[in-house]
Amino acid sequence: MGRALRHALAIAGKDLRMELRTRTSLLSAAVFAALVLMVFNFARDPTAVATVDLAPSILWVTVTFASVVAMNRAFTVERENGAFDGLLLAPVSRESLYLGKYLANLAFVLIVEAITLPLFVLFFNLDLGGALPGLLLTLLLATIGFVAVGTVFSAMVAKTRFAELMLPILLLPFMVPPLIFAVKTTVPLFAGRPLSDVLPGLRFLALYDVAFVTLSVLLFSAVVDE
């Protein structure tokens, strides 16, 4: 177990180091998120709809699309110079390989979300106040689940034509159930409702995480082994 985890961390470390040195994908995903927020600002009528009513949808639509953009890079970078074959030949189990890629993706999407959240608060003049811890927990739980699925899919689409378009087509249906529950959690959070209104959504998100992280670990070897 310790060995498997060490291998996974090594692979995740490699991905993050590479990303931090080039910064291209991270920057473009963050800029993309900021642009989506800006589009939202101009796509609404501020006199007709109160920001707080619209805020949960703005946040989750932005997070959804920015995450898909961020996850695209996981395996497309490995296509260059046959890097992925090297990774497959390395003496690490498929589970460690998946876990490494997953952790890197998770860190990556969380960084993009960490950039998006303050911009969201800033652009829409929100006072999160007591909602912040709950919101962070919701973001984390939702992200853990859909990034697990996204990592498997991005390994698949890296071998197809139009990989960049294929990922959202496959992944968005899988992102909608966690999204529904994240919104169901965010709305009472922003309205300052008691914790009992928030818990069912969080519980569902945790259930989704357990189911899809397990399934993804099990199915990953079927994707990479011919």
Binding site: V149, V152, F153, M156, V157, K159, T160, R161, F162, M166, I169, L170, L172, P173, F174, V176, P177, I180, F181, K184, F204, Y208, A211, F212, L215, L219, A222, V223, E226
Partner: protein, 233 residues
Amino acid sequence: MTPDAARARSLMTRGVVLTVLALIGQAAVMLLAIQFTPVEARQGMAQKIFYVHVPAAVIALWVAVPLTAFAGLLYLWLHDPRLDRFAAASAEVSTVLCGIVLATGPIWGKPIWGTWWTWDGRLTLTLFLFFLLLGYHTLRAAIRDPGDRARFSAVLGVMGLVLVPFIHLSVYLWRGLHPQPVVLKPSAPSLPPEMLRTLLSGFAVAFLLYLGFVTLRYGIQLARDAREAAHAG
């Protein structure tokens, strides 16, 4: 002609025969529904679409889609190309059936509910499945290598199978407008015998249509694979 090509040809013939029979049966069911089944008291003629809509929905959701996912699951275990061909064929027919459900539903919904579409649990679930199936076909179309194609689509199928209960959970939190089951429910069917007879013929025809389409589609895929193998070899 290779043995596979010959087999493909005979399968396609069989598929065409079954499909033609099913289409004739479909015409007969429509005739039966319109001419020989009493008009429902509250919904009037609009209710007639029930005899097409419900069989298509039941065959799609309880036969075609689950079989696609299970064929994928078995493929990951056995690596038999026949399972992949079947999964692909069944997925295509599922898409057609879901399309029929999604097209006939609003035609009924407009006069009865007063709206073409509503985000009711069942409607949303069917729409989700339809999109998952479209994604499945897009994925298959984008991969050249037959091994990759089979494995990836099987993985997607299994993931989809696990996703369905979650969609169910998330969309059923909204109270539905959709009518509750009248036949497949724990107590006895609450449908007059004439209507039940028409509905059951509808089920039989929809199932026959599924068999016909799948056989035909399987035969086509077999012929394609045989041709690819002949070119490669």
